[in-house]
């Protein structure tokens, strides 16, 4: 357009533009703190939608040829704990009628299942892994769930802790894995027992699991990463 704009307005506008840029940068840093508030407002809604999206049935799996062992990175907040397989016991307690202390033989005696699924880390990487072991649902059934139970609190030998909604815990592809890619679970990946499922982000999949506690409500300790600001449901 050939219109000469009002010079004063133009100068003023340019000044505003130049002044606006640093303000935006400063604002960006200040906004970092607001993110938590944004999360507090939107996460409950997102989590509800995630739970609604999640079906009870099996999801499609990958072909064993798609397994990529090199893609699976190791994460741990506190190193690798030493666990003696002979002395290992999995405690199932809380709102159950028959509390259990299961050794590895008892877990191996349950029906064994394999899931070839994508393990997705919150950091952004993923890996196709073949997990096998008993279903978490079968282990919980041994203990006899109370109708009041709504959540499972999961304790690990390295002091990592997690909590799950019962529906996700009872999903047919949620395993207490004792094997990975056809071999016994390596110590760095959670030996002797870890959680595996296609429906949760990696930080929900506790390694070195030693205790399952059924609860009616979520406590103050919702999970090691969740308590620092990560989403609790973390569905995939």
């Amino acid at each position: 357009m050939a219109t000469p704009a009002d010079p004063l307005s133009r100068r003023r506008s340019l000044g505003l533009l130049l002044g606006g840029a640093p303000a935006l940068l400063l604002g960006g840093c200040a906004l970092n703190g607001v993110g938590e508030a944004v999360g507090t407002v939107t996460q409950p809604l997102n989590e509800r939608i995630e739970a609604l999206l999640q079906g009870k049935g099996k999801l499609p799996e990958f072909r064993p040829s798609q397994v990529d062992p090199a893609a699976l990175l190791i994460n741990s907040f506190n190193g690798t704990p030493e666990i003696d397989p002979g002395g290992y016991r999995l405690a199932v307690a809380g709102l159950v009628s028959r509390p259990q202390r299961l050794d590895l033989t008892a877990l191996a005696a349950l029906p064994q299942h394999q899931c070839v699924i994508r393990h997705v880390c919150v950091e952004g990487w993923s890996a196709v892994v073949a997990w096998s072991g008993p279903r978490l649902a079968d282990v919980l059934a041994l203990a006899g769930l109370s109708p009041l139970a709504g959540y499972v609190f999961i304790e690990s030998a390295d002091q990592y802790y997690e909590s799950w909604d019962l529906a996700s815990a009872l999903h047919p592809q949620t395993l207490l894995a004792t094997h990975m890619n056809g071999a016994p679970l390596p110590a760095a990946n959670g030996a002797p027992v870890r959680l595996a499922t296609p429906i949760k982000l990696g930080y929900k999949l506790s390694k070195w699991v030693t205790g399952l506690k059924l609860m009616a409500t979520l406590g103050d300790r919702r999970g090691y990463w969740e308590d620092q600001g990560y989403e609790w449901f973390a569905g995939l």
Binding site: G35, A71, C121, L236
Partner: protein, 205 residues
């Protein structure tokens, strides 16, 4: 802006308030999504993984991974709703807007330049919507890869060449940032050529 072309010094005719608000809101939402996305990128760079180069903190939002995800998944609903409204409006107003702008082109010049400019600008708008829609699709596929496995499936086309569908998705999702930046640049330049500062100010809130 037909009226302001005839009378050069006429006061600026501002676009309706809701149009200006919607325009600014669009820009804000895209900036928030891009900056928080780049924060997520930094937790594990798409290129190079754990050893990869990270984006300067200046372009990120959230401070750390959980903060970036708070923003990204907090604003995604607004982003999707905005995109829906935007596409709906364009489809509804397309004919009317083209007619008015076409008149302007005929009035202004004997050559066909404005008409061509308009055509380019329309192309830019359309591409923008496609890119933003693509961003939404690839984002959803990575947000719920297990539940929306059918959304992930089309991205396994490069598996035979050794490229996992997840990495293809990450690259595609990230690529929408340079794409939208280019289109935004073109949009800014074109609107400057069409209406200069006066047109810019008419859209400012």
């Amino acid at each position: 802006m037909p009226a302001s072309t005839k009378r050069p010094m006429a006061p600026i005719r501002y676009a309706p308030l809701w149009t200006r608000a919607f325009h600014s809101f669009n820009l804000l939402v895209i900036l928030l999504m891009a900056a928080s996305g780049l924060q997520i990128y930094n937790a594990n760079p798409v290129f190079g993984g754990r050893g990869g180069a990270t984006v300067p903190e200046l372009f990120t939002l959230g401070g750390w991974l959980a903060g970036g995800r708070d923003w990204h998944f907090g604003v995604m609903g607004l982003y999707a709703a905005n995109l829906g409204v935007w596409i709906g409006l364009l489809i509804r107003q397309r004919h009317q807007r083209l007619a008015a702008m076409g008149d302007l082109g005929t009035l202004r010049a004997s050559s066909n330049t404005p008409k061509r400019r308009l055509a380019v600008h329309r192309l830019v708008y359309t591409l923008m919507l496609i890119v933003l829609g693509f961003s939404l699709i690839t984002g959803l596929a990575m947000y719920k890869p297990a539940q929306f496995w059918w959304l992930v499936a089309p991205f396994s086309f490069a598996e035979a060449a050794g490229h996992d569908s997840w990495q293809v998705l990450r690259v595609c999702h990230l690529a929408t940032i340079p794409a939208i930046a280019l289109l935004l640049g073109a949009h800014v330049v074109l609107s400057w050529r069409v209406g200069g500062l006066r047109l810019w100010r008419s859209m400012a809130v």
